[in-house]
């Protein structure tokens, strides 16, 4: 393979790399939507004890029963609020814990949220990033409470 061919390859490679660098510098950043994200949280106590399913859970009850095998589901709290992008919304949880939700992007009815659950003392139990379509719910469960666990249902929009 001759020198001229090698030179052509080298020039081509350099051009492509320059193009990559250029695109990184010139393209606009990812657009994020404006406005506040409505947030709804249901804090549920689930345990294997008498008590049945709390009627206030509505349609969520059936989904919980498909997912878990507890005999009792009790709605402890249902805080609601809203937060703008990159603004945190915080609420307390039983056992001196806290929940913080921070929207990081809104786009076409989809919300990207950072969800953080902290134990008493401030140490993180879980730190997650989720994408939810408006009206959809994700569950964070497992923190111990009395004889069972907490299940936190988070809905955006």
């Amino acid at each position: 393979m001759g020198r001229s061919v090698r030179r052509r390859h080298g020039v081509f490679l350099s051009l492509v790399l320059l193009l990559a660098l250029g695109s990184l510098l010139t393209l606009p950043p990812l657009a994020t939507g404006q406005g506040a994200v409505p947030l709804k949280v249901q804090v549920i106590y689930a345990a294997n004890e008498a008590g049945g399913v709390d009627g206030r859970l509505g349609t969520l009850a059936a989904e919980l029963q498909k997912t878990f095998r507890y005999s009792k589901y009790e709605l402890l709290d249902s805080p609601q609020g809203s937060a703008a992008v990159n603004q945190g919304w915080r609420t307390g949880l039983p056992g001196d814990r806290s929940l913080e939700i921070t929207p990081t992007a809104i786009k076409d009815g989809e919300y990207t949220l950072t969800v953080r659950v902290q134990a008493s003392g401030g140490q993180a139990l879980v730190n997650t990033r989720v994408k939810l379509k408006a009206g959809r719910t994700v569950l964070v469960g497992g923190p111990t409470h009395q004889k069972g666990v907490l299940i936190i249902a988070i809905t955006a929009g």
Binding site: R6, N48, R69, L125, T128, V130, R136, T137
Partner: protein
């Protein structure tokens, strides 16, 4: 409904014990404690049971041995290699990347093509129209990333027939 997705975040001592439990490697009080941790979570139990069955099947794999001829000739093969090492010879220098590209035009073309793909990928990402389209994730919920705390492994799952994705935290019990 998508397939179930289970994983356990192995960041903690407790997470590692759950991994050992999944493998069927725990006994006694440690096993009992791990059982308690998954008792209310049938998705976790199914995942763990499947892990255990895979481990058991693998352990039953028959060993592969040398044939008589291979075994007979094995040591002389080793000896030849030892003697070759003991004879000094020039080891070719590892070519620098630049020389590799100059001498291997196909490699340099492949590198250029890979860089071109990278450019296209970055461009589409920046435009935001590729990775997160509104039809990108079933059931309208996607868990992009999750990590547990310093002593809290995390499992992600979704049961068949349910629309709910669950992020399950295995919190260490703390007696009051």
């Amino acid at each position: 409904m998508g397939a179930m997705a289970h994983w356990l975040h192995m960041s903690t001592g407790r997470g590692r014990r759950l991994a050992a439990y999944a493998a069927g490697d725990l006994a006694g009080p440690q096993r009992a404690r791990a059982e308690a941790a998954v008792s209310g979570c049938p998705g976790c139990r199914r995942e763990i049971e499947a892990h255990r069955r895979v481990a058991q099947t693998l352990r039953a794999t028959p060993r592969v041995t040398l044939t008589d001829a291979e075994a007979g000739a094995f040591w002389s093969g080793v000896e030849r290699r030892i003697e070759t090492r003991e004879r000094p010879h020039r080891i070719p220098a590892r070519p620098a990347l630049r020389e590799m590209l100059w001498d291997h035009p196909r490699l340099s073309l492949a590198s250029a093509a890979a860089a071109a793909v990278l450019v296209v990928g970055i461009t589409l990402t920046q435009m935001g129209g590729w990775l997160s389209s509104s039809n990108g994730f079933p059931n309208g919920v996607e868990v992009v990333s999750v990590e547990g705390g310093s002593d809290a492994p995390v499992m992600l799952f979704q049961m068949p027939g349910s629309s709910l994705k669950v992020i399950w935290v295995f919190e260490e019990p703390t007696a009051e």
